[in-house]
Structure formats: structure tokens, C-alpha cells
Symmetry: C2
Subunit: 184 residues, 2 copies
């Protein structure tokens, strides 16, 4: 009654009207498996944090900002924009809330006094730690039965999935092409 029709048959006959007018689908080559596993894995991975964030009146945008500010103390606003790939205006709203509510503080740059360097407060650190704890628990569980070679393959795969043209400061740190390292 509530079954999906999972048959391997082609789409409904009515949907075949224009068949042949589009490029060959090369369906056999598609990595449907990885595509769908990434969708579900990421959905549940971020879902962990979403529940907690509600209690704070925050959303995913706040989490992303807090995370990178905590991890890379002294991050500039411009660097954050590169990492998150959003506009100044979008970041502004979220950042203002985090500043107002005391999760982040700004410090004027030493060399360049135009810069506002961002740091997590103790309150901000606690939030990041809580959320990272939930996500780490899920990751640890998922890695439990995988040997070191397997874990290395996972790490290599995820790295290779990331665009390397024009890497931002955080990516340089992650890939070790910069000389500096993230916190912890």
C-alpha cells in the first residue's frame, strides 16, 4: 500500500515522447551509489547539530561561522567570506548576532587597523565543542570497524573531492600548503 514501485523498468511510457533528442545518458557509468550516500550522510551529519542549534535560537549559518572562528583564531572577515562563499551582507547579519550575544569578539588588527580579527569567547567555544562533539561521535562510530588503511582512503577521497583552484586560507591550512596550522 505504501510501496514505492522500485521496478527496473523504464520511466512511464508517456515520458518517452522526446526520447533521442537529448544526449545519451551513459547511465552505467554513473556513481549513483556515492551520490546518494553523500546526500544521506551529509543530511544526517548536519542534522546532529541542527537540533542543538534550535535550543540556542541559531541556525546552520551561525554554526559555520562559529566553527571556523573557533578553529582559526584571528580569522578576518574577508577570509570567512572566502570560506563560506557567501556575501558580506549575509555574513553581516549572522556575525552581528554572534557578536551581540557574546559568542565572538572582534579585535582590531595589529599591522592593519582596518581589519577586524575574530575570536571565539568561552561561550562560543562551549557551543562549538558541543556541536563538534555530536558530529565527532557520529564519525567515530562510522569509523569504528575501519582499519587505518581504510581511514586513509576516506581522508584521501574527501580531500580529492575538494576544488583546489584558488584555495582560501583555511583550505591552505587543511592541505598543509600554508605554513600555519589550525587550533588543536
Amino acid at each position: 500500500m505504501t510501496d514505492i514501485n522500485f521496478s527496473r523498468s523504464a520511466a512511464h511510457p508517456d515520458s518517452q515522447g522526446a526520447a533521442g533528442t537529448y544526449p545519451a545518458p551513459r547511465a552505467g557509468e554513473m556513481r549513483w551509489d556515492i551520490i546518494e550516500l553523500l546526500f544521506f550522510a551529509y543530511r544526517d551529519f548536519v542534522g546532529d547539530a541542527d537540533q542543538e542549534l534550535e535550543a540556542f535560537g541559531f541556525g546552520r549559518a551561525h554554526h559555520r561561522v562559529m566553527h571556523f572562528v573557533y578553529r582559526y583564531p584571528g580569522l578576518k572577515v574577508a577570509d570567512l567570506l572566502d570560506v563560506l562563499r557567501i556575501t558580506k551582507q549575509s555574513l553581516g547579519r549572522v556575525l552581528k548576532q554572534l557578536l551581540d550575544e557574546g559568542y565572538i569578539i572582534q579585535k582590531t588588527g595589529n599591522n592593519d587597523r582596518r581589519q577586524r580579527l575574530l575570536y571565539a569567547t568561552a561561550k562560543g567555544e562551549a557551543l562549538v565543542a558541543k556541536l563538534a562533539g555530536l558530529q565527532t561521535d557520529r564519525i567515530t562510530r562510522a569509523l569504528r570497524d575501519i582499519n587505518p588503511e581504510g581511514v586513509a582512503a576516506i581522508s584521501q577521497f574527501l580531500r580529492a573531492m575538494i576544488d583546489r583552484d584558488d584555495p582560501d586560507k583555511v583550505l591552505e591550512a587543511i592541505f598543509g600548503t600554508g605554513s600555519k596550522k589550525p587550533r588543536e
Copy 2:
């Protein structure tokens, strides 16, 4: 000048005021590496499709709907809601557009005439194939230098990241706990 302060030092002194009033951060146990790799990998993975979708005047929501309708022909509206974890109203808007523009067709259920079974048209299939092609290219590139054991570990890891309580019909198909299989 445009450098992040990547120092390992603690957060800015002003941020330490309330230290000790929050749970111990257990920072050493955190899988910062995987957390951040997942963020960047998924960002760039979905970014592939985003560009193409703009040309069609569609967004990510349309992609997700098209993908699962193509992959699981005859999917019901209710099943789609389970998979995407959005509300009927949210899905309604996107689905209506895809129906109106001829990417998807509905067919009244045989056993239960209340159901509207969903199928991709040839036009819809072409769109899904195009987007899956881009994502498959990225995945294939990322897997190029990884041996079969490594690929197995990646698959196992992604599966283990997914919540298994109350799995929807699509997840049952992916995990093989249902008897039916997806298309292709």
C-alpha cells in the same frame, strides 16, 4: 597582510572570562579533520550542479526532487517527503513547477487511486543525467588513485554515517533491506 593568525595559542584573553563554567571541551578527541573535509567536499560536490541548475532556472530543491523521481520511478509524494525531510507545502511548490514545465509526470496509482505516482519525462531524465554526470566526474576523479579496499572503506564509512532508525523506502533500497532495487 591578508594572513590569518593561525597560531595555536588560546583564544583572545578577553574571551576567557567565563572559563571553567562550561563542560570540558575534550578537544583532543574531536575529528576536526573529517568534519571540515566533509564540509568542503560537500560544498564543492553540490556546487557542480548549482551552476547548471541556474541555466534551467532551478535550484537545489528541484535537483533533489528530480534525482529521486528519476532513480525510483513511481515514487509517491509521501515517500518523497520522507526522503527529503521537508513539508508538503515546500515540496508542493517545487513539484508543481517540475510538472508544469514537463520534467515530471504523475500517474494515478493502480491499487490506490488516491496516490500520485511520479515519473521523470525524457526531458527530466536528460536533466538528471547531466547533473549526475558532473558529480560522477568529480567522484571518479577522487577515486582514481584509491584501490578497491579503499573504495569499500569509503562506501562503508558513508553508510555508517547514515541514521538507520526509521529508514524511508529509498534508504531501504540503498541498504538492501527492501526487496526492490533502484533504476539502473
